[in-house]
Symmetry: C2
Subunit: 197 residues, 2 copies
DNA sequence: ACCTGAACACCGTTCAAGT
DNA sequence: ACCTGAACACCGTTCAAGT
């Protein structure tokens, strides 16, 4: 069901492929320790390639972020599948799904803001991931709706906008991932028919 | 009641004061047309001062933003006073207050993100404005609580975090200010006892 | 077809020299 | 006490020269 969600890419020459992989691997490490705004120059340096090479493969920072987050979409899909099929009460299932998203998008500092910004920008390389995200959320919300627990008129895109906003707040201000919970609780209260379950 | 909320500042020499004012005035214009991340170098150039002068007055970009937003706090206080004293049904009063905030923080592109980031960072020059903001929100929420319309355990700071997150989403993605409404509606549904009013 | 690395433009920051 | 502007470090981006 979830083969790599990546776009089909024409095969690269051996050395180009090696450089491509090295860059992505290096970027992943750099993004993890310095955030998604880490210096591209230094990524190139650490990867042992010239800046032009990085540029050829990734014309924009977002393109690189997109490549680094390639597996991310798979995780999102897995998490949403699990939440949608969950036997847990609607509130717990939804809460878990939101929490996992905040956690997942939080591993790269600054990534939440990029995702949030790309949410309505089809020109962004990350836009595709946002579509996947909204689709996944739709799936989870539908499962809750089937149980009659969702308020009328709740839109998956709007919900994802708010939740990515919350993820960004958590990421940008120094607060911990646990501090997302009270905010998510407000959203849950806002979209569920009965706050109790 | 609302004299300028600014901090007391020791008087500057005449020329220094003139430069200070010119810089703030220029920055305000630049921020308005190019956003809160506009080049400080060009602001200095347009203001007719050396970069060192801008730096002396505003050691950090946030300090400059803070100065540019000096009147902003007064508007926030005025809006919250009006909302707290409003005869409108709780939902309308709250909704108007949130909307005005999103609108106000949206006049400088990128400002919402700065406010959001400073919300829990006492070291930031903008932190003081966030405190004012949370205080103002507290005031409005209390007035709603007095009418028995607010759910138990709703915290003014949490609410402000979410709303500033929404303001940031609206600002960063290309969507219009009107598109904040459906998201704010979810928050309202989440913090009010009875969604109807 | 792909890579290198010098070159460029821009930006924030510092500081010695001036008044 | 305050300002100027040259100087520096850094960063993203381009492109001619190489293989």
């Amino acid at each position: 069901m979830s083969t790599t969600t990546g776009v089909e890419r024409k095969p690269l020459r051996a050395d180009a492929q090696r450089n491509y992989d090295k860059i992505v691997e290096t970027a992943r490490a750099m993004f993890r320790e310095r955030g998604a705004d880490a210096s591209l120059d230094e990524i190139a340096k650490r990867a042992g390639v010239g800046p032009g090479t990085l540029y050829r493969h990734f014309p924009t920072r977002e393109a690189l972020i997109d490549a680094v987050m390639r597996d991310w979409a798979d995780r999102i899909n897995a998490d949403s599948d699990e939440a949608a099929a969950s036997e847990l009460p609607p509130r717990e299932a939804l809460s878990g799904w939101f929490s996992k998203f905040v956690e997942n998008v939080g591993i790269y500092h600054g990534a939440a803001a990029k995702v949030m910004a790309a949410m309505d920008d089809p020109a962004s390389p990350i836009y595709r991931k946002c579509q996947i995200l909204v689709g996944a959320n739709q799936k989870v919300l539908d499962s809750v709706r089937d149980k009659g627990a969702l308020r009328d008129g709740v839109d998956a895109r709007e919900v994802m906008r708010i939740v990515s906003g919350i993820a960004t707040v958590v990421d940008q201000s120094g607060i911990g991932a646990d501090d997302a919970e009270p905010m998510l609780a407000i959203v849950l209260d806002g979209i569920l028919v009965d706050p109790s379950d």
